[in-house]
């Protein structure tokens, strides 16, 4: 890969994370008045982020050859758009990629149907921590096949810190005046505030405590970033020394851009997320959907995706083992102790979302004042 095409591929492999908080504007254009297209049997319609694994042309071709199913796509730009699309287009999709914080929401609303593990031969190989998580199961039935996962924790400059700071409390270190960066995202900020105050990350009982803790960061915070690219540029320009960051991005900063980046899951805890592949309710082609899900969690697909394009960690341990030893993510994601410290993103109510967003707006206002 040339330097540039590598750089561009950022936009692909990391699309999920970029877009996790991105525009909800796209709903209108596509949802309204989109005519339902009559589809041939043997067609698998996938609803996902654009450029996020399922739509790789080489894989779609191989899948067609192997199973006779044609894969087509529709994309969403935010998780709320994903829900809206399924609501307004019943029978329009077969497979949907749902984040762990959204799978329960979709199953409770009856938008997705229980999976039949018997039709997914690789099912048994999946990491039980993800596969059997309540976030992908509802009423004792599995509603999503764990696909890929990642961590949101702390990245630091190895030029400044001679060894890993190891704690989340370091962000509050008075010596780090104007050297800390956070992501401009209300839910993530509240999550870290909750972890720092020893509370449940998703539903902290004492929001006032979270707010007070975040406000204490005021003199340390230099920058609120919103993308991996921005993070890399500012880090390269030494605009900050330590920051909340995504695991996959930290790995890329280190390996592709040769930035002096270290990464750790604080002893207080970190944020974990995983994506599940689900079969949509009233799917016209449930067998094709199951076959496609099995294809996606197959180590063969994962290794090709990870090495050709770049991918988050697989939820199938056999797929991780199949990675070449030279692949840095193989060792990167192998620290079982760190994984135990993660809390996973769970569904939030509309009220919680609004409350977190307001809290973050208030904290940002205080930062700027």
């Amino acid at each position: 890969m040339t330097e540039i095409s590598k750089f561009r591929s950022l936009g692909r492999s990391n699309r999920r994370q970029f877009l996790a908080g991105a525009t909800a504007l796209g709903v209108g254009a596509t949802v309204l008045g989109a005519p339902r297209i009559a589809r041939a049997a043997g067609d698998v319609k996938v609803l996902n982020w654009q450029g996020y694994g399922t739509d790789e042309a080489w894989s779609v071709d191989a899948f067609h050859k192997a199973t006779g199913n044609t894969v087509t796509h529709d994309y969403y730009n935010s998780e709320s758009e994903m829900i809206t699309k399924m609501r307004t287009n019943p029978g329009g999709y077969d497979v949907v990629v749902t984040n762990c914080a959204w799978n329960n929401i979709a199953s409770k609303e009856g938008l997705i149907q229980p999976l039949d593990p018997a039709k997914i031969p690789h099912w048994a190989d999946l990491n039980p921590a993800f596969r059997d998580s309540p976030l992908l199961n509802d009423g004792g039935k599995p509603f999503g096949a764990a696909w890929v996962w990642g961590i949101t924790a702390i990245a630091y400059s190895t030029d400044v810190f001679k060894e890993s700071p190891a704690t989340l409390a370091t962000l509050w270190d008075p010596k780090l005046k104007k050297r800390v960066a956070l992501r401009d995202d209300g839910i993530e900020a509240v999550s870290f505030g909750a972890i720092a105050t020893g509370q449940d990350m998703n539903h902290p009982a004492d929001l006032a405590k979270v707010k007070a803790k975040l406000l204490e960061l005021k003199s340390n915070v230099a920058l609120l970033w919103s993308s991996e690219d921005e993070w890399n540029k500012q880090f390269a320009a030494k605009a900050f020394d330590i920051s909340v960051y995504w695991s996959g991005s930290a790995l890329r900063s280190k390996t592709q851009f040769k930035l002096p980046v270290g990464y750790y899951v604080p002893k207080e805890g970190g944020i974990g997320w995983f994506d599940g592949l689900a079969v949509v309710k009233d799917s016209p082609n449930p067998d094709g959907a199951h076959a496609f899900i099995n294809w996606m969690i197959d180590p063969k697909f994962y290794v090709e995706w990870a090495t050709k394009v770049g991918a988050p960690a697989s939820a199938n341990p056999k797929a991780m083992e199949a990675l070449p030893d030279s692949d840095p993510s193989k060792s990167f994601y192998s620290d079982q102790e760190a994984i135990k410290r993660l809390q996973f993103m769970a569904p939030l109510s509309d009220k919680e979302k609004q409350d977190y967003s307001d809290l973050w707006a208030e904290v940002k206002t205080a930062f700027a004042g």
Binding site: S80, A237, K238, A239, A361, E362
Partner: protein, 287 residues
């Protein structure tokens, strides 16, 4: 057809298309947004909505909206003030002190930055203002011992970027009204014994005031709604009402709240104009 009727049709034919266009794109959308701002459910959610004033109440109930609004207004004020302080002398120099080919060339050079992308210019400022950036390097090449210099992610950085973006407006509007002032008028004042400063204060400046005002309006209004420049240049120090409104439309998908906030911002702009209007009218600026 009587001449009177014909004239009616001519007026209708000439103005109709332009105003129909404005109706569809400005006036009807504003009405639609007013309607949207009193709904309790976003149009994106397939659930019946009912009317509420909660979105307007939120502006006063949530503690952060008032400071955000105040900062937006201050940002507009500082940007307009500095545009005036820098731009007016430039317009004066251009209109009254430079002639012929020079004037034309300088004029073109001032207008030209409009043709480059505003966002790229703003991003370029980050390269100039940051530690190790171009300004820092220039400073250290002259004073090697100067302390490290970093303006990026500060309030002044946002103002610098905004002044840069909007300065040409001020220069243009002031230039137009300054150029219209007849030189013989100034000569006459001088020959009547007025000092240069008096001529400026009593004759030139009052006559150029309409240009200053229109420049100020053209700058103040968009700056109050700015969200892109504060975000890129201000870092954690850039927070405006505009940024929060934009987030209601793009991140939280709460259109009714965003619409209510937009209208609140509009109301604030109108209040400011209403307060200024009598002053300007008295001075004969608002013809």
């Amino acid at each position: 057809m009587s001449p009177r009727q014909r004239q009616k049709w001519a007026i209708f034919g000439l103005t109709g298309p332009a105003y129909a266009w404005l109706a569809v794109t400005i006036f009807l959308p504003l009405s639609a947004m007013l309607y949207c701002s009193v709904l309790d459910v976003s149009p994106l959610v397939p659930r019946p909505a009912s009317f509420t004033l909660a979105n307007y109440a939120a502006f006063f109930q949530k503690s952060f909206y008032l400071p955000l609004t105040w900062w937006s207004i201050l940002l507009g004020f500082w940007t307009t003030l500095f545009c005036f302080l820098v731009g007016y002398p430039a317009a004066y120099a251009l209109a009254k002190r430079v002639k012929g080919r020079w004037r034309e060339a300088l004029f073109l050079l001032i207008v030209l930055p409009f043709w480059s992308n505003a966002l790229v210019r703003i991003f370029s400022w980050t390269m100039v203002l940051r530690q190790g950036g171009f300004l820092d390097m220039a400073l250290h090449s002259v004073f090697p011992d100067a302390p490290a210099f970093n303006l990026l992610f500060t309030y002044p950085a946002v103002v610098i970027g905004l002044v840069h973006s909007y300065l040409p407006y001020m220069i243009l509007t002031c230039y137009v009204s300054l150029q219209a002032i007849d030189d013989s008028l100034m000569e006459a004042a001088r020959s009547l014994g007025a000092e240069n400063t008096t001529v400026f204060r009593r004759v030139v400046f009052p006559l150029s005031l309409p240009g200053v005002i229109s420049g100020a309006v053209l700058i103040f209004v968009p700056v109050i709604g700015s969200f892109m420049e504060p975000r890129i240049l201000g870092g954690a120090k850039g927070a405006t009402l505009g940024m929060n409104i934009e987030e209601q439309f793009t991140v939280t998908a709460n259109w009714p709240l965003g619409a209510a906030l937009s209208f609140t911002m509009l109301a604030i702009v109108l209040v400011i104009f209403a307060v200024l209007y009598p002053i300007l009218k008295r001075r004969g600026v608002w013809a």
